[in-house]
């Protein structure tokens, strides 16, 4: 049954009329887990892009490396020339650094959260993309963890935030939300990195066995002598389960704690009780969008149309739509309560956002986060077409960064005593550091894609083993063995 016989989908007979083999062919086309390929072929398909250094690799590393370098140089310059080079003023003393921190740690949390949640719910379309999600977390966490340090006035005294024993009997102030941020970020950094590493071990072993040169030594180190024995697999399964549950618990706590930086103050526009879940929803929303971007890029660049198919994009698209609606709900909460309360300063916050200094950012955010996803993601055709999903996801990233920017700088600009309202314009230093952070994440992906396999092969193989086509009456269905 060669491929050419299959007519264009619109002339294709309905399922009822098709023969069994035609149905099987259709199922294999649509679903990865049904379209099993021999192991060696799968290994080659994953390891071959890892080995090949394409034409565009070095220029990409060069450009991204330059951006990351400008980030570090700007930070050094700011430490020498003091915080005056930023656009901060006496009223708005937090800006893009904190907005970037919240935005990047938001993406980071969603990465592992999605990998962990989908694993526990045993949803099959997670299998090829879970490594992309976990790696996204690792890089975003490192990038975001550096921003609270960059915004310190005296960065060289950051160690005073850590509870180290000292002879001056001074301990950090555990009443402060910044210390909670510190603990939350560090704990999440540890758990998500370990979670990523545990998933990596079998694949590293696979790479160790099929690759030569320095990557072999690297992956052999990473594989920690993994032999694939039954006891090792059982221990790995238990470890993955524990970490998945751990991540499910830690993720909401981390981003709620990050939102407490704002919710715990008495600043109009910040002290609202909905900030906890609102920030968690925003985090997952931006995380899913980031995973979609990464998945599409890998599908296109590594020609992995076999691994990442329409069903995965469709699954992610539905999840994106779901998180979009949840975010809309929480944003509406955060918006309607001040409007209805008519407290003068909080009404002024809304006025500044909608019609004042921040209106451009506000309406761009609303269209990017709420309007466009709502009117596009309902259709399967949109969800499965990669250019549309790429565009929507990038817009959502921009929208959510703007949302954090608005919350930090516009809300902070409206104070109780009207003499002290403030406007904020970002300056070069902050923009360079923002682009530098994003470049750091992309650079991480580009470099790591040449070091370790980017598809969790053993999960894909396990999925393909478990899912069989079963014949019931005239139809074929995919059934999954327990």
């Amino acid at each position: 049954m060669s491929d050419s016989d299959i007519r264009a989908p619109q002339q294709r007979p309905s399922l009822g009329e098709m023969g069994l083999d035609q149905q099987a062919q259709l199922e294999r086309e649509r679903h990865l887990l049904v379209d099993a390929r021999p192991g060696r072929e799968l290994n080659a398909m994953v390891l071959e892009p890892m080995m090949r250094i394409g034409r565009a690799f070095w220029p990409a590393v060069g450009v991204l490396g330059f951006l990351v370098l400008t980030w570090w140089v700007t930070w050094g310059f700011q430490m020498w020339w003091n915080v005056g080079i930023t656009g901060l003023n006496r009223v708005v003393m937090w800006s893009l650094y904190i907005a970037n921190y919240v935005y990047l740690i938001g993406i980071a949390e969603a990465g592992t959260f999605i990998a962990a949640a989908l694993r526990l719910l045993d949803i099959d379309w997670r299998r090829p993309i879970s490594r992309i999600a976990e790696l996204l977390t690792v890089f975003c966490i490192f990038a975001s963890a550096l921003f609270p340090l960059a915004h310190l006035g005296r960065t060289w005294k950051f160690y005073w935030l850590l509870p180290y024993p000292n002879e001056r009997q001074l301990w950090p102030n555990f009443h402060s939300a910044l210390i909670w941020d510190l603990t939350a970020t560090l704990s999440y950094l540890a758990t998500s990195t370990l979670f990523f590493y545990i998933d990596l071990i079998p694949d590293a072993a696979l790479a160790r066995d099929h690759v030569h040169g320095w990557r072999r030594t690297l992956n052999s180190w990473l594989a920690l002598g993994w032999r694939g024995t039954e006891r090792q697999w059982r221990l790995l399964k238990v470890a993955q389960l524990i970490f998945s549950i751990g991540i499910l618990l830690i993720m909401p706590s981390v981003h709620t704690v990050v939102s407490y930086d704002f919710a715990m103050t008495i600043q109009p526009g910040w002290h609202s009780t909905v900030f906890g879940p609102y920030f968690v929803a925003g985090a997952i929303y931006s995380g899913v969008a980031a995973i979609i971007i990464a998945a599409i890029l890998f599908q296109r660049l590594n020609h992995w149309s076999y691994f990442i198919r329409d069903e995965h994009l469709n699954g992610l698209g539905i999840f994106l739509l779901l998180t979009s609606l949840v975010w809309d709900y929480f944003f509406f909460q955060d918006f309607i309560v001040p409007w209805y309360g008519q407290v003068p300063t909080e009404k002024q916050v809304l006025l500044t956002m909608m019609a004042g200094h921040g209106q451009l950012a506000f309406w761009l955010m609303i269209t990017a986060n709420a309007i466009i996803p709502f009117f596009t993601l309902w259709w399967r055709r949109v969800r499965t077409s990669w250019p549309a999903m790429l565009a929507i996801s990038i817009l959502i990233q921009l929208g959510l960064l703007l949302e954090r920017y608005i919350i930090v700088t516009i809300d902070l600009g409206v104070r109780e005593l009207p003499f002290n309202w403030g406007l904020y314009q970002p300056r070069a230093a902050e923009l360079i550091m923002s682009t530098g952070a994003v470049a750091f994440i992309v650079l991480g992906f580009v470099v790591f894609s040449k070091l370790i396999p980017f598809v969790v092969l053993y999960e894909v193989k396990e999925g393909q083993f478990l899912v069989q086509l079963k014949r019931i009456g005239k139809g074929l269905i995919r059934s999954k063995m327990e």
């Binding site: 005056g84 009223v91 000292n166 002879e167 001056r168 002024q348 005593l417 009207p418 003499f419 309202w421």
Partner: protein, 739 residues
């Protein structure tokens, strides 16, 4: 400030972390810090404990008493002298900023000569060369010498100048500066001479008054005696006569006084005196209040038609009637003539018109300063503007051989360019400036012989106006002189030795002996003391001399009724092509420009516009909309005599037909802060050369101007957020609750 402090300074004042030092254990070799004790310690100083020295504040002519905290030989804080009868321990912002005169980074370190005038290339010379040059110049000039002094000159130095000029047959020193010109010193003295026969400045006992009508007087910011009236305003608001004082301000623009007034009359510029006369007329016609007042009113009130004045000045007639009634029935009413009403028409008559109200009210609380208490003492008297005009003519005609300019007079900056003072200077062979800092006049000077700032110098000052009891302030150096400066008194005495004509008139070895001799003439005062040495020590210790304690009662002398004719307000510039009035005022921090070289003043927010480092053109909201300008737009303001460019500041507390501008900036010299950092127009460029009808003051308050947009914008260095202060947000609830 920008980042100009080096790494070394940071180490010196930085927060070295003790923990790091402890943990590291090893000390990298640090530069040692030397601790040099005194060789001969002054007995009253303990290291680490401040010693307070009393002196006089010279930031404006009022003469408040100050005490200066000196710690390890450095002056660190100026405060008001608590015993001083004028300011009772208080100080205005300019008084507090005196330290930045002493420690100004742009001060001259020694005498300099400028080979080519205006080249700003100053070549340092020794004091001997300087004195030789000056002596040669003076002997050449002889009777064509002119001395131009600032009103804050110490009494003994003015005395020396007078003796020198008298000895050389030259005219007496001209005491004229922008502060006294815009405050109307000459006109107010002339008005008192007209009414009471004594050409002295008026004093108003506001602490016991209950109704005060202030006709444009900036008594809370920059007028005769800012701090005293500040202190008096405190008790004026505290129920002096068992009810809270009621202040009415007649001014086209809201300054500090109009902001604090209970009723602000936003009248047309130039119509203050007619409104005063209308009130006098209404008191006479109304017949309300005590009989003696009504009779005096009928005797004094001019034949004016209140209705016409009300329509001309834009003040509703029933307001005038109500105010007349309030004034007439008040227990201790006061009417205060401000500086603005002496800037046009007939300044003396207009000031007298307001004083007439005081005469009608019985003259209680209105005092005429008695003048120097002892015949040996000299007090500066503000020269009428006519004399300055004639002097500039003589300079242009080449009849002036040498011009000595002392203190903050700075005529090149203060006089309107239309008068042509700067090019008249070119005809003067020798121009010498004694100011410690190079100002606009010193730019065109041949010699700059920097005098010591008032915290390094000796002197005395007769407090003018004094409030009931005459006061003489002492002034002593609180720190060692910072640089190779020499007191101008010593320089004059040194120079006079070489000139035969002057040697006899100035025999004293140094200025201190001259000062001691003059002060010895004072009768024993409040602090007693018998022998000359003890009395001199007490005079310096307490900072002032007073014949008897306590504030004296202020009572105006008897005045015989005479007609006071006030000309109808006339304006320079046709109404057609110059549609707006120009209202020039002196801000509280910069005053007439002498505050621009001190960062604490030029860098602090102006109370009304909250601008720092800048001054602006204040335009009313609707006018700004009509002109299509908003905050920060640079506009070109043109008068018949000149034009300036200024950023716009929209204040809805100016008359729609008036543009208000503050003096103080627009400097081309006076140090880095005034000339490079601060930017702003000098409104004197718009003023014409003419004097008022009486010749006593400049015609600076009746200028019409035209406004044009230049299309450029300037970022405003302001403190407030204009959306917050103006927007609808400051609703009545917020205002009622807090303001």
């Amino acid at each position: 400030m920008g980042r100009r402090i080096g790494r070394r300074d940071l180490l010196k004042i930085g927060a070295a972390s003790a923990v790091a030092a402890a943990l590291s254990g090893c000390e990298f070799p640090r530069p040692w810090v030397h601790l040099e004790p005194y060789v001969r310690p002054p007995e009253e100083q303990v290291a680490g404990v401040g010693t307070w020295y009393a002196s006089t504040c010279r930031q404006c002519p009022a003469g408040c008493g100050i005490i200066v905290r000196v710690l390890n030989g450095r002056a660190v804080k100026i405060e008001g002298n608590p015993q001083h009868p004028l300011n009772e321990g208080k100080l205005c912002p300019r008084g507090q900023a005196g330290l930045q005169d002493l420690y100004n980074p742009d001060r001259l370190q020694g005498p300099v000569r400028q080979a080519e005038r205006g080249s700003r290339r100053y070549q340092a010379i020794t004091w001997e060369q300087a004195i030789d040059d000056l002596r040669a110049g003076l002997s050449r000039a002889g009777s064509s010498l002119v001395v131009w002094a600032d009103h804050t000159i110490s009494g003994h130095l003015l005395d020396l100048f007078e003796r020198l000029t008298a000895a050389l047959g030259a005219p007496p020193p001209v005491v004229f500066d922008l502060y006294t010109a815009l405050s109307g010193y000459a006109a107010l003295s002339a008005a008192d001479a007209l009414l009471f026969g004594q050409a002295r400045l008026p004093a108003y006992g506001m602490e016991e008054a209950d109704v005060v009508l202030s006709f444009g007087a900036g008594f809370l910011s920059t007028w005769l005696s800012t701090t005293h009236y500040g202190v008096a305003f405190g008790s004026f608001r505290q129920r002096p006569l068992d009810r809270r004082g009621y202040l009415v301000q007649f001014e086209p623009r809201s300054g500090l006084e109009a902001a604090k007034a209970d009723f602000w009359v936003r009248l047309r510029p130039g119509s203050e005196a007619p409104v005063a006369q209308a009130i006098a007329r209404l008191i006479a016609d109304g017949g309300v209040g005590p009989a003696d007042r009504v009779s005096r009113a009928r005797a004094w009130a001019p034949a004016v038609d209140p209705e016409a004045i009300s329509s001309a000045s834009g003040v509703p007639i029933d307001d005038l009637r109500r105010l007349a009634g309030t004034f007439a029935t008040a227990a201790r009413p006061l009417a205060i003539p401000g500086g603005a009403l002496t800037g046009h028409g007939d300044a003396v008559a207009q000031a007298a018109a307001v004083q007439v109200l005081n005469v009608i009210a019985g003259g209680a609380g209105v005092g005429i300063a008695p003048g120097p208490p002892a015949e040996g003492l000299v007090a500066p008297v503000a020269a009428p503007y006519g004399r300055v005009q004639r002097l500039v003519e003589r300079m242009r005609a080449g009849q002036v051989g040498a011009l000595l300019v002392w203190g903050a007079a700075n005529p090149a900056y203060a006089l309107p360019p239309a008068l042509g003072f700067v090019d008249a200077l070119k005809q003067v062979p020798l121009v010498v400036s004694f100011r410690p800092i190079v100002d606009e006049t010193a730019l065109w000077a041949d010699l700059v012989l920097p005098d010591r700032t008032y915290l390094e110098a000796w002197g005395y000052g007769v407090v003018e106006p004094s409030f009931g009891v005459p006061v003489v302030n002492s002034q002593q150096p609180v720190v060692q002189p910072l640089y190779n400066t020499r007191a101008t008194g010593d320089v004059l005495l040194e120079v006079a030795k070489g000139i035969p004509a002057a040697a006899a008139a100035l025999p004293w070895p140094d200025e201190l002996s001259f000062l001691r001799e003059r002060i010895a003439a004072l009768p024993p005062g409040v602090f007693g003391g018998v022998g000359e040495e003890v009395e001199w020590a007490r005079f310096l210790q307490h900072g002032f001399w007073q014949p008897r304690p306590g504030p004296g009662a202020l009572q105006a002398p008897e005045a015989r009724p005479q007609p006071v004719v006030v000309p109808a307000p006339s304006f320079q510039g046709a109404a057609g092509d110059y549609p707006f009035f120009l209202y020039i005022h002196m801000p509280v921090l910069l005053s007439d420009g002498r505050g621009a070289d001190k960062p604490w003043l030029v860098g602090s927010p102006d109370p009304m516009t909250t601008l720092m480092w800048q001054t602006c053109a204040e335009i009313e909201t609707n006018t700004a909309i009509r002109l299509g300008v908003t905050y920060g737009d640079v506009v070109r303001i043109m008068s018949p005599y000149g034009q300036v460019e200024a950023p716009v500041y929209v204040l809805n507390s100016v008359r729609p037909d008036t543009i208000a501008m503050a003096t103080g900036l627009g400097h081309s010299a006076l140090g880095r802060f005034a000339s490079q950092e601060a930017e702003g127009p000098n409104p004197m460029a718009l003023v014409g050369p003419a004097a008022d009808a009486s010749g006593t003051s400049m015609a600076w308050a009746n200028i019409r101007v035209r406004v044009e947009r230049t299309g450029r914008r300037v970022a405003l260095a302001k403190f407030e957020d204009t959306r917050g202060s103006y927007g609808g947000f400051v609703n009545q609830a917020f205002a009622d609750q807090y303001l």
